[in-house]
């Protein structure tokens, strides 16, 4: 048992950290978020060149054969800069589904472009009536000759506007909430019958409502077994939760440290705010929650990387704690910054907004508490 990172992992951490420091000051982020695609094409290409887009894929598929631990290191640094580029959508979600379920041919066709940054993927899993249940699927894929015809509506699809392909969960048999009978397909984002309604999310990222009307897809685009897509979806969601939690832990560190700095500079009642015990204790609580999240992040990530049977439960525990603690830290960071915390001028508010969105992605704190207790 050890908590040390390998030399390669430390190098990865250093290189991501340097990238964030050099490129992700608040002003640059705001500019990037407001640009046409909502992120920087240059940064995206840099990430591909540095090998980050290939991190979790097998070496045989042109990747680096990394585990969830490597992704954690990357995402924790991303959280410190609130990175906008669609690595989660393309690599962890879309790519994660392909990695787990796609045929050799499909992988060979798609993954090289994904890894070199020329092709972008995303995953359409959510539906309006489903709340956070991955298995509540009404979008249908009907068998038709050599392929399938897809009809339905998918919600809050991350970065769909810039995606070339979308991995989509559909119902091919069973009832609306059955785990069995869900099938995953890879469709072209600009295929006939696909309509994307694009919008920004409150944290500065992008998403789309996607409607599908008689979209035809070949059976060679099926990912995993017919009716057997749920297990893949669930594993991808677990990886996404680990990645988002790592991002959240990075963001929490910025939130509590910025607050410690700010309260030492801001003077009221002839004292720096940080002199007041009531504020000191609040900041200690923020720090403690951050450390506890980090501990649980390590636990769940190491268990997942090792394929332990305990991992699923730890992932629920992690998402619960990260949601709860993340919002606690973020709300208090705003509170301790006073009026300035309410402005777009300081970065605190931007981290706050990201933390709220992270809680809602792939199930919020209450949802995962329920899953954990079940």
């Amino acid at each position: 048992m050890n908590f040390d990172f390998s030399q390669e992992q430390q190098m990865l951490q250093d290189s991501v950290s340097r990238f964030i420091q050099d490129n992700y000051d608040l002003e640059s982020r705001i500019k990037s978020a407001g640009s046409k695609f909502g992120f920087s094409q240059d940064h995206w290409q840099t990430m591909a060149e540095l090998g980050w887009l290939g991190l979790p894929f097998d070496e045989a598929d042109g990747g680096f054969g990394g585990t969830q631990i490597d992704t954690m290191l990357l995402m924790e640094q991303f959280g410190k800069g609130l990175v906008l580029e669609p690595l989660l959508a393309s690599v962890i979600l879309g790519g994660g589904a392909l990695k787990r379920g796609a045929s050799t041919e499909l992988k060979a066709e798609i993954l090289p472009g994904l890894i070199d940054g020329s092709r972008q993927l995303t995953l359409a899993y959510a539906e309006e009536q489903a709340h956070f249940d991955l298995h509540d699927v009404t979008t249908t894929a009907r068998s038709d000759g050599d392929g399938f015809v897809i009809n339905g509506h998918k919600s809050m699809v991350l970065h769909a506007a810039t995606a070339d392909q979308i991995v989509i969960s559909t119902r091919t048999s069973g009832g609306q909430i059955d785990e069995k009978g869900i099938s995953l397909f890879l469709i072209d984002a600009d295929a006939d019958g696909v309509k994307r309604d694009n919008f920004p999310t409150v944290d500065g990222l992008r998403a789309s409502e996607v409607t599908l009307q008689d979209v035809t897809v070949g059976k060679d685009r099926l990912i995993g077994e017919l009716d057997g897509g749920f297990a893949i979806l669930n594993d991808v969601a677990s990886d996404a939760i680990l990645a988002l939690s790592a991002e959240a832990v990075g963001a929490m560190e910025v939130l509590y440290k910025d607050t410690v700095d700010y309260t030492q500079q801001r003077e009221q009642f002839d004292h720096p705010l940080a002199d007041f015990q009531v504020l000191q204790h609040r900041m200690v609580e923020m720090f403690m929650e951050y450390e506890q999240c980090k501990s649980l992040l390590y636990r769940a990530t190491m268990e997942a990387a090792q394929g332990s049977s305990a991992a699923q439960r730890s992932v629920h525990a992690l998402k619960h704690l990260v949601g709860k603690a993340g919002i606690f830290i973020a709300e208090n960071a705003v509170q301790l910054h006073g009026g300035m915390g309410m402005t777009e001028e300081l970065r605190i508010g931007h981290y706050f907004k990201r933390m709220i969105v992270i809680d809602a992605q792939f199930g919020n704190a209450d949802y995962h508490l329920g899953k954990f207790a079940a």
């Binding site: 390998s6 015990q277 501990s295 649980l296 329920g370």
Partner: protein, 388 residues
């Protein structure tokens, strides 16, 4: 980075388990004979009677993983009764700051569980503000002994203690952290009076201790005169890291779940009630995180570096978790938790209330939670000592 136990660690765990199984107390066996024999056998295993002592002083010199395994296994087994004051608290001070003569004089009896120690720190006027202590020690004109006068309070197990390690004031001219001297002396002597204090659970474990002209030879002073605060601070660190009790809480939580499952509610049990279940789940999640906070802390300690910032939160989180378990046990007992003395209703309900009441002290002793937060604010976050 990995959490798998290697083959050596698994073998070690087996060794620990079979040692506990082979040496468990048997029905009819004289407890005290068994107890001392257990420690002797543990000693023969290579320092298992003093797991936290360094190899230099006869400890086992375990890796952090081995310490972790030991914690886990001891939480599940029934070990002989032991007190922390000798082995865990004064011994490390004597090792670090005592002279060779003192080490030879005191450590063997501490290790052999022959001498019971108590801790003379808090005073009626010095609780969280420990450095405000006033118990006076005056050096004799010939420089051979101190005369001690004053009062200590919350002295745990003073009623059975043979010796006390005591913070005394030898100089009050400077700042209050200076002029404190660390003395050791026997409890069974003229001039020492122990008065019991009964706490909420009805137990007698703490006392008030009065000293009237108690003579202490200078050979019983640890380190230099006036430097006692420095040594005590180190001891508080020892005490605090030992107070989190994470492994014990893991076992206690499993017991709570079992107990709550025996409380019938409709067709199911209390564990099927969403509100109770959610409270247990939140507690378990905090405990899972704390377990890894402790592991991270162990790992950084073994890397030779100072304990990382994560270790500072262990006492706070660990004691809060112990209190939440105790409270849920009382909740699970329902109205039966109110019965006092006579066992009625659910079997676990009788011990529940006493445990809960006693647990309220966990966030007060060894540095109250609010003091712990002051310490973290200063030492970890780098904030100045607060003005209000």
């Amino acid at each position: 980075m990995d959490i798998e136990l290697g083959p050596e660690d698994l073998a070690f765990r087996e060794d620990v388990r079979s040692f506990f199984a082979e040496n468990a107390h048997k029905a009819g066996e004289d407890y005290n004979v068994w107890r001392l024999d257990w420690f002797k056998k543990a000693r023969d295993k290579g320092g298992w009677d003093v797991p936290k002592w360094s190899a230099e002083f006869g400890g086992p010199g375990w890796t952090p993983t081995q310490h972790y395994i030991w914690e886990q296994e001891t939480a599940q087994a029934t070990l002989p009764w032991d007190m922390p004051f000798g082995i865990g608290m004064i011994a490390p001070i004597i090792m670090a700051h005592g002279n060779e003569e003192q080490q030879e004089r005191f450590l063997p009896d501490i290790r052999g569980r022959k001498v019971n120690w108590c801790q003379g720190y808090s005073e009626p006027g010095a609780g969280s503000d420990l450095a405000a202590l006033k118990t006076k020690a005056v050096l004799s004109d010939d420089g051979t002994y101190y005369t001690v006068n004053g009062t200590k309070i919350w002295t745990t197990m003073a009623q059975i203690a043979d010796w006390i390690f005591c913070l005394t004031r030898t100089d009050d001219s400077g700042i209050k952290q200076e002029g404190i001297t660390f003395l050791l002396f026997p409890m069974k002597q003229e001039g020492i009076e122990v008065k019991p204090i009964i706490t909420l659970g009805g137990a007698h474990s703490v006392n008030m201790v009065h000293f009237t002209d108690v003579k202490v030879p200078v050979e019983n002073r640890i380190g230099a005169e006036g430097k006692g605060w420095t040594y005590a601070k180190g001891l508080l660190q020892h005490e605090r890291t030992g107070l989190a009790g994470i492994s014990r809480s893991i076992v206690a939580l499993e017991n709570l779940k079992k107990q709550a499952s025996t409380v019938k509610r409709g067709n199911g049990s209390l564990m099927d009630e969403p509100t109770f279940r959610a409270k247990v789940a939140e507690l378990e999640i905090d405990l899972m995180a704390s377990e890894f906070t402790e592991l991270r802390s162990l790992a950084s300690a073994s890397a030779g570096s100072a304990p990382g910032p994560e270790s500072s939160i262990l006492k706070l989180k660990g004691t809060e978790i112990q209190q939440r378990i105790a409270k849920l046990t009382v909740e699970a007992g329902g109205i039966y938790s109110a019965a006092w003395g006579k066992p009625v209703g659910h079997k676990f309900a009788k011990g529940g209330m006493g445990g809960y009441l006693a647990s309220r002290a966990f966030t007060i002793y060894g540095g109250a939670s609010e003091v712990q937060k002051d310490v973290i604010a200063k030492n970890v976050l780098g904030l100045k000592r607060s003005s209000k």
